[in-house]
Amino acid sequence: MTTEQIEAFLAQAFPGQPLPGQSGLDAGAVGDAERLLLPEPQVDEARTSRPGVAIVPPALLHVRSDALEAAGIEAGFDEDTRALVLTASAHLAFGLAEPGQLRTSGDAGGTRFQVPTDRAHAFGVWSAAGPLAIGSVGPRAIELRVVNAWPAPPLPASVVIANWSRWHATMAAGRVARGFEPDATEADAIPARRWLRSVTADQRALIERFAIVRLHAIESQLLRLQEGLGVDQQLDFAWQSLCWHRDDVEGLRVLLREAGAGQTLATAVRGVDDIGRAVRFSWPSDIDVHDERLQRVSEADPGAWWGSTRRQVVWL
């Protein structure tokens, strides 16, 4: 999809949202494209398949999409119907839109949708608060882009990294607001803290949704550790990464709280922190996880389980 096509599509599919160029849906709000190649039917499968006699419903092929995953949506591919199947849990309900299709908030209350791939078309994934992702189906592949439909945060130039997405910039705003960015000053923290008061309630709800999805990923990693299941990398690096992610969510919680929002996130955080504290409480003493950021957490909030393993935690 070209930039013009994306803008036209968003304007058509999300008529309630600000247009590109206005606050909210600017070019930086749309993430990089990812291409998912459509599976080709095997010659033998095509020759031997007998439609109508299958007893067991076919399992979906797992589809890995960072764009959809960030929005809390799982994707699978149904080889029989050749459709992309999108699912989410009830509290992360969503809807589908096609260009020109009128949508209302109530339409975003679904948890399972199918995107046919037998014809070229564009589609959008949205929540009641606004767009989450856009996609286009081509003859051989599906192109997907995450949409972070809120304005860019006020960040000092010294902090911004050129290829940051809107999501990365938003998390950086959380770090700046809490004085966790070494390149930012105390004065930089104030506009960052006030930023979410100037955006719409829907935009805050979108940020909260993405933060909750991030929190779910932390929760599943914590549960794996708690249950003694393996992680993809060395335990110390896995824990460091987990702590950084939890700290990023903490930054978003602070930003939302400063704007009088984020109650759903705060509730979700409590449950995850119970697990985090349990894992940290029984953390093996010979596995050392320490860096300057985690040291800072241990100083600024000694009740946080995601601080340095060399430092004490107050069990609140």
Binding site: S158, I161, G179, I190, E258, G303, R310, Q312
Partner: protein, 243 residues
């Protein structure tokens, strides 16, 4: 306002939504600072150091607030324990860094990029380490330096990385570095180096995962390189008070 209430309400007053809220935050900040100072003075002999610790921590604790009631100590006794833990966590780190500068390796918990006593294939591991060093300093650092701008210029970033590496390898001491750059060892010089190294380290370690993702190294080499960066570029300069 009790200490426990102050700990819940404390947050940067300048970011408050209303004047009333700003006053509450400022009052809470004062209570937290006074209690931190009192606790620090009772355990830390040096008055200036106690004030430094109390003011730094009061700012940090305010920056992470306001706190929800269920994430904050409910009583004054527990609030004091919370503040004391914050002081302890900071003091331990200050002393660790100071001792490490004096050459006390016992407190440096990083074991190095490769454990040479663990397996027989020492040569293979050394080759892996050499390869990781070449990649880190020959490719990753220059690539990340190309993207630096703003207050941190490219040359400043590269110089800071070289200095941190030299300090790690002990081919350069902090005093020698300050004499070389400033002609004398001062607290101000130490502060400047601390800031420069902290910024360079944050920039490098922040950008390294994306660089590694793009480079798609073998997973073992990837892990060795990450550990190498964390080890060789760990903090070895503290703020100026110790100079």
């Amino acid at each position: 306002m009790t200490i426990a209430e102050a700990l819940r309400a404390v947050a940067p007053p300048a970011a408050a939504d209303t004047d009333d809220e700003a006053r509450v935050r400022a009052a809470a900040l004062e209570i937290v600072y006074i209690e931190l100072h009192r606790l620090a003075r009772s355990r830390v002999g040096d008055r200036t150091e106690a004030e430094d610790v109390a003011s730094t921590l009061a700012y940090q604790i305010a920056s992470t607030g306001p706190r929800d009631a269920d994430r904050s100590p409910p009583t004054d006794g527990q609030a004091r324990a919370y503040l004391w833990t914050a002081i302890r966590n900071r003091m331990v780190d200050r002393h660790r860094v100071a001792r490490r500068e004096q050459g006390d390796d016992d407190l440096d918990r990083f074991e190095g990029a490769v454990d040479l006593t663990d397996h027989a294939e020492v040569e293979e591991r050394m080759a892996l380490l050499t390869q990781a060093q070449q990649l880190l300093y020959g490719e990753a650092v220059p690539a990340i330096a190309r993207e630096t701008d703003g207050r941190f210029d490219r040359d400043g970033f590269l110089t800071a990385v070289q200095q941190m590496r030299a300090l790690h390898q002990r081919s350069l001491t902090l005093d020698a570095l300050l004499v070389e750059t400033d002609g004398q060892v001062t607290a101000a010089g130490r502060n400047r180096l601390y800031k420069q190294h902290e910024r360079a380290r944050t920039r490098l370690l922040g950008a390294l995962p994306a660089w590694l993702e793009g480079r798609r190294l073998d997973s073992t080499l990837d892990q060795v390189l990450r550990r190498l960066a964390a080890t060789e570029l760990a903090s070895r300069v503290t703020r100026g008070a110790g100079a």
